[in-house]
Symmetry: D3
Subunit: 241 residues, 6 copies
């Protein structure tokens, strides 16, 4: 199968992670994966939610699409007085993924909120949010360290995410919108630096899929995530002053 943008089946779209894009947030970046573009800030606050153990920190995420992130304009959630079910589902995924990267004791009594606002969506906005969200989180923790507010870096794992899917019976990495909307199977993986899974979410939209097919898609993701982690590391190295 020929992909519209000429990629081979196991290629990522061009990825760009621009760090420190917000003057106020403790950590921030813009992540671009092809035409998908997410504006991310990580904000540190000194109080944690009530369910958090004494002395520990917390990480949470919020996800939102700007009204014209898509091909047609969508109404804002606030005008409907409810968070869309899709946004609720996605921001829970991002929050769980980023928490898996952090030692909450080392984070001390700080809460970091990672806001992911999709400026432009062309498929893969949730995985881009995880990948970019980790960079913003890391930058925020670096600032806490530099300010002497914490003693050790609480980010003990590197975390990134990507999707893969079956399109016309072929396994493809990093689906963009036109592929995603026609995919038979769509699978998102969040992994750490050892290639271990943190989250896996797969859906047979068009047909069910075998365990073997599922494994093939996970392998594709594993390859893509390795490459994304190089991009993350570059952003953290090159983007720092």
């Amino acid at each position: 199968m020929n992909r519209r943008d000429g990629r081979t089946a196991d290629m990522l779209r061009p990825v760009e992670i621009i760090p420190n894009t917000n003057a106020f947030a403790e950590g921030s970046c813009i992540i671009k994966c092809g035409a998908t573009m997410v504006y991310i800030t990580a904000s540190v606050e000194d109080r944690v939610p009530p369910h958090v153990a004494e002395g520990c920190g917390w990480v949470t995420a919020e996800y939102n699409m700007l009204p014209r992130a898509n091909r047609t304009r969508s109404r804002r959630d606030v005008s409907k007085l409810k968070l869309s079910g899709r946004s609720a589902e996605i921001q829970r995924l991002i929050g769980r993924s980023l928490r898996s990267a952090v030692d909450m004791e080392k984070l001390g009594p700080h809460c970091i909120t990672v806001d992911c606002d999709v400026l432009q969506g062309d498929g893969g906005t949730r995985t881009a949010s995880v990948t970019g969200g980790w960079v913003a989180l890391k930058l925020a923790c670096r600032k806490l360290l530099e300010a002497g507010l914490i003693d050790e870096d609480p980010v003990i794992h590197q975390v990134a995410a990507v999707s893969a899917g079956l399109v016309e019976e072929e396994a493809l990495l990093d689906l963009q919108y036109y592929e995603d909307s026609g995919a038979q199977v769509d699978l998102n993986c969040v992994m750490n630096e050892r290639g271990e899974l943190i989250e896996i979410q797969g859906t047979g939209e068009g047909r069910a899929f075998t365990v073997l097919e599922q494994q093939r898609l996970v392998s594709l993701c594993q390859k893509g995530i390795q490459e994304l982690m190089v991009k993350q590391t570059c952003a953290l190295t090159g983007g720092a002053e």
Copy 2:
């Protein structure tokens, strides 16, 4: 590891599916998996949502926990004026899973809403909702067939779901609450009658998990789902008048 209720690692909890528990709904059942108990109705309406293709049908789901489904009472969503993020996430999963079982053209221009109200929750409420939801959906379609409103059974696949998880490094099938809340990894599978995946959702709550561990958990689910499908079939056979 010894499970509190004496089960082996690959055993389901006792399952009971009581069909036709609601006098008005086209399809209904109560499903009990151990102490988990979900009240399910499938309601047929003659109009479909605007996005559905001309002449086709639709299946959707709603999920709700009654205030005292849990060990402590929770406030109703309506008193908070918002559907909880967790409920939103779960009802989207149930809806996608049940839609995969149905040929929407055969369903004609009918919309079936499957309401899953958890009377008692002891782990596995979302997978019980899928398993019981399929029974209610099947019963509703049977009624449509008997009434001559559709010509062929639109339920072209059998669908059931179960969870498995890593608890103290051991892979266990069908986690109940005390296991689930302490699980390192929690994975839900929705499968069809051929053992193919429809949905897979895995989360490393306590630690990341290897691809091999993930495959082990999928195998456990596959075994459990086969047994659940026998229960579904019994309910449909024995429960009919």
Copy 3:
């Protein structure tokens, strides 16, 4: 007039009260009055609302119809972001009725919330909720007593409720849906064990009614409530382990 189910004018529908139907709630029951079926839990919490006098307890109620409790499916309140006016009106009635049964000083600083979720509605759901709600409340207080958390039973009155109405000029006890929807006059009484009124709510839907007619309906209710109290007592005696 012949009633569809063969009852005489002053007969109740078959009543069944199944106690202890929820494993977690301090008190619970299912009450069935004909085809009407309400799932009730009484939950004890240790804090009381701010308006309650120091050292006293409180009793409150919430009422909700499941989406397919009726002949056609209704949208959930949460999807409309508002509690229906009808539910608001009914849960205030249930709350006032149950509070009249309780000595708030003896209840100590506990708040009991009685949740009435209608699984199936065939007329008389609000009165069934009061009658069953009293059983759940009594069971919850019994548990508090057994646990030594209170010294004396705070339930100092027995409370039950029933409706009566004028249908085709005839006074009938305990209207079911098809009677209720065609009733000229509909009257609900909540009474205590001495046959005294706690709440009376009468509405002339089809026509106004004389004071004499009103008295006739109250007498019918008085008779029905005596019988319901026998059922309540049975449930409390037989249902206890």
Copy 4:
């Protein structure tokens, strides 16, 4: 018992009904019962709710307390994003009461909304709203008649309402706030011009009440309502230009 304002047990507070207080509404009045003061408008619209039979009309009511209607300021419902349960209960009562006065076929396809905004509340706001609401409704129908939009007056009954209660074991008519808040029993009656009941709502706040006591309170209300109807008629006669 001596009432603070020197009334005998069966006396109403001074009542004043000022018609045509709003320049735009088809019908309007201000009703004062002692210090209770309600601003009422009846608005005619040309479309009826979907549940209304072809060619028929409809009457509905909305009830609201202004923030400083009471001794202390209350937050507006809109700031809490929900109609208070109390307002919901009351506006349903007003709507049912006023509908009982109207022949919906004669009202043709018009919907009349009666808005009752309490400027000052000193007990009896719901019954004052019914009594004044009927005057506004009558005025609106008169305007429809004068404009030739309907052929016959659809207001076929006169409707008014008042409360009575047991205070320190004595039956008193038309409770004002300080009596109401200390009442043992509080009962509201809505009646028509023949002294027949349209609505009866009684609550034993402090203690249960016997059927005999209930009858005594209804008799008091009957007397008060006769006097209120004289006031209504005066307002309609004197207030017209």
Copy 5:
């Protein structure tokens, strides 16, 4: 241009300010400007919002139109679950204007909420709310002084407001509805007793306006506000017992 009510271009509509119209509020009035009529209460509470400096007071305002304040009935904000944008904008203006009149240190730790409920709207409801709101605020502070709760009058400025506009190229003072809805330019001024501006809000609805035209409109407002301040003073002098 001839104005419908015979006013010259620089004349106000007849203004009436009736003080002490609410028995419970610390300050209150009804203000009528032609057919515009606003019911205003000023309520004192003993706690201030969290952002207020220790020991200081606060003044805030809420603005609401009753459903039939206008030529056609509007739905209540609560039924739409949101404060209208227009109301939000207006109540912020009223709040800022009234705060400019007050020395917050002298107000001590009291919060005064000025509620402006429009009974009838015929143009100029926001400026009438400011003008009448100041009277209610002054009365409330007088009550605080008389009760010895504060030592000095915190109302250190007199504040009033009016609109002017360009209608058919002519500058007119105090637009009523039929003028306002056809105005090319509409400008509201809030001023103090020295003729200084506190707020200015001008909008070119039909066309842009020159700086010179803007100055002409401000002059008209200045003249009108002087006259309104005489009315305010009368209301405070004559209206007190």
Copy 6:
């Protein structure tokens, strides 16, 4: 007075308008005024709101601050289930301002929604939204023209906006956050290409201001707006492909 960034009293901050920043929207730009940065899209839809005259078009605006646009993180409006009053006020201003630039008949039956999402706020976000919003609007209309969907450019005026204020008794143009928050008077002007006013909004936060002072501030704005219009024109010329 020395301004922190070395500007003279009548200097704008550095302005940058980057056009075509969104791949899907018919018009878009990012506008930067110093550290203030707003992401703007103009979306064309084929239906207009019901109040619009047959055959005419409409322009509306929405304004939103991203959670970390400010020095501290703010909760999203959707989590509070209400649009903030401030956002409501601002988006009404932007909408009115942009509508003044457009001939609605020439816009034909299209509705253009201008979404202004503040990525970073350092004072002047509402005026930057107007200035940038006009560019996005112009670009969207250009696309409509190029696509032959309209015959003539409906943008008949150029519109831009800026603020000025009194800070420590000195009149300064284009306040940034630290100046704005300490300003005695804050005034926003929206003007067209002829230097005529479309909107003027001035507030005496710290003290009242004379008519003369107001005129001085308007003059400053006039100067700044001329410079902003050069930037707008550059963006439209240079930014087009």
